[in-house]
């Protein structure tokens, strides 16, 4: 989806303002928002690609004006509502009106360190050979799917070169929509900055973008 989340190359957002001695959290509620989002992931009702798409699908004015943890919370609420895990009324009042749905896993405090340390690798066993070779010239497809994709707009329909083969990875474009992991080869593609941004970019700079095979064609 060509949404506001796809920010690469925009020029309207002003300068970067690093905060010196920035705290890890700016308010206690941010801690709980992060922790709830992480913990709810273990329920097994969605995957990381579904949760990214939920955030991208928030109203654009909300996405731009809210803090990142507010966006996470809104994404979490929308995922739970869609699945009937909570109701609008329950979210509003905080009063539980129906028992919870069955979930895959509720991680206890004792289990959490190991669960966090295990992570959720997305590399799968390859069943085909890579379709592109390191050093090969490629072109990205000019796709504009209505669903989730991880090919940024600034890198569509552009020429680059395969810099590395990263592995055989779950494909977000299908995984975000319950259409299966559809794993495929992931390539690191090197683009010349001026191929992507013309004279606005500095000659000799490079931009590296990880692209699944489905985003690429032979040049």
């Amino acid at each position: 989806m060509n949404g506001l989340h796809d920010m690469g190359g925009m020029q309207c957002h002003g300068s970067v303002e690093p905060e010196s001695n920035e705290p890890i959290f700016h308010a206690a509620w941010e801690e709980r928002a992060l922790a709830m989002t992480v913990a709810m992931g273990f329920a097994g009702k969605w995957n990381i690609d579904i949760s990214r798409f939920a955030r991208e699908s928030l109203p654009p004015d909300f996405y731009l004006s809210k803090s990142y943890y507010q966006i996470w919370l809104a994404g979490l609420q929308s995922l739970m509502l869609e699945r009937g895990m909570v109701s609008e009324k329950e979210l509003e009042t905080g009063k539980c009106e129906a028992p919870g749905l069955d979930v895959k896993r509720v991680v206890s405090a004792g289990e959490m360190p190991a669960a966090l340390a295990a992570g959720a690798p997305v590399e799968r066993e390859a069943i085909v050979e890579p379709g592109f070779a390191i050093g090969e010239d490629v072109r990205t497809l000019n796709i504009n799917p209505k669903g989730h994709t991880r090919l940024p707009r600034y890198a569509r329909g552009k020429s680059g070169r395969i810099a590395a083969i990263q592995g055989y990875h779950v494909f977000p474009d299908s995984n975000a929509h319950g259409e299966g992991e559809n794993p495929q080869w992931l390539y690191c593609v090197c683009f010349e900055a001026q191929e992507l941004f013309g004279q606005a970019a500095e000659q000799g700079n490079k931009i590296m973008v990880d692209c699944w095979g489905a985003y690429l064609e032979h040049a």
């Binding site: 796809d6 920010m7 690469g8 190359g9 925009m10 020029q11 309207c12 957002h13 300068s15 970067v16 690093p18 905060e19 920035e22 890890i24 959290f25 308010a27 206690a28 509620w29 709980r32 992060l34 922790a35 709830m36 913990a39 990214r52 991208e56 731009l64 990142y68 507010q70 919370l73 909570v86 979210l91 905080g94 009063k95 539980c96 028992p99 919870g100 979930v103 509720v106 991680v107 405090a109 289990e111 959490m112 340390a117 992570g119 690798p121 997305v122 991880r150 940024p152 592995g167 977000p172 900055a193 941004f197 606005a200 970019a201 500095e202 700079n205 490079k206 590296m208 973008v209 990880d210």
Partner: protein
């Protein structure tokens, strides 16, 4: 400490002065978020979806255990141990796990090494992908629209906003974290640090130097 604990303590104290001293600051500004999040948490607990004590563990993990000190230890080891650097190049995920750092948002790691003519910097233009296992949670600026939008097109200008002015001849390679690969920048080892211990080296490796928006800090007095 959980949000609910902080709130109950606050009420027990009945501390009105406390309220006044924080008036018109973030505290009052965010009070509706506190309430909203507290309400949501109690609902999810009642539904049986989460264990509140497990949330405390998540917060504690990212406040005290998983942060940029992890990445700094990796960089310091890489600077001091060529065999380790080779293992990082070969399989960064495994080499980083040797030091005990693994897991969430660090499942597929790559290192990118700065050289005399190439400076690396990392961004996620699409969301906020960041190597949690070595750097912890991302700072606000990393997740902000200005950084995400401009890092790919005008990285040199963005770096200048961090106070980092690279020599004109140095080219910049920007890594957009569009997949689950997570990038850790290995800055160049500063001159004058020969013979330093890994612990001393790790001290000068800043978070920003491992994102590529800064350089290691070498204070004049420690240069000698």
């Amino acid at each position: 400490m959980s949000d609910s604990k902080q709130h109950s303590k606050h009420h027990e104290n009945g501390d009105h002065d406390h309220d006044h001293s924080h008036a018109h600051t973030d505290h009052s500004h965010w009070s509706d978020m506190h309430l909203k999040v507290k309400t949501l948490e109690s609902l999810l607990v009642e539904k049986g979806y989460i264990d509140p004590a497990a949330l405390d563990v998540i917060v504690e993990t990212y406040e005290t255990k998983v942060g940029p000190r992890n990445g700094a230890a990796v960089v310091a080891r890489a600077w001091n141990d060529d065999a380790y650097l080779r293992r990082l190049r070969e399989n960064a995920t495994e080499a980083i796990a040797e030091l005990g750092f693994s897991g969430r948002q660090g499942e597929h790691m790559k290192i990118v090494e700065n050289t005399a003519d190439t400076h690396n910097m990392v961004v996620c233009t699409l969301c906020s992908c960041y190597p949690w296992s070595v750097l912890g949670l991302p700072p606000v600026w990393y997740k902000s629209a200005p950084y995400r939008s401009r890092a790919v097109m005008e990285p040199r200008v963005v770096l200048s906003e961090f106070g980092l002015e690279l020599p004109e001849e140095v080219r910049i390679t920007v890594w957009d974290s569009t997949a689950e690969m997570r990038y850790l920048v290995i800055p160049q080892r500063p001159d004058g640090t020969q013979g330093w211990s890994e612990e001393a080296l790790a001290e000068i490796v800043t978070r920003d130097s491992m994102i590529g928006t800064g350089l290691p800090l070498v204070r004049m007095e420690s240069k000698a």
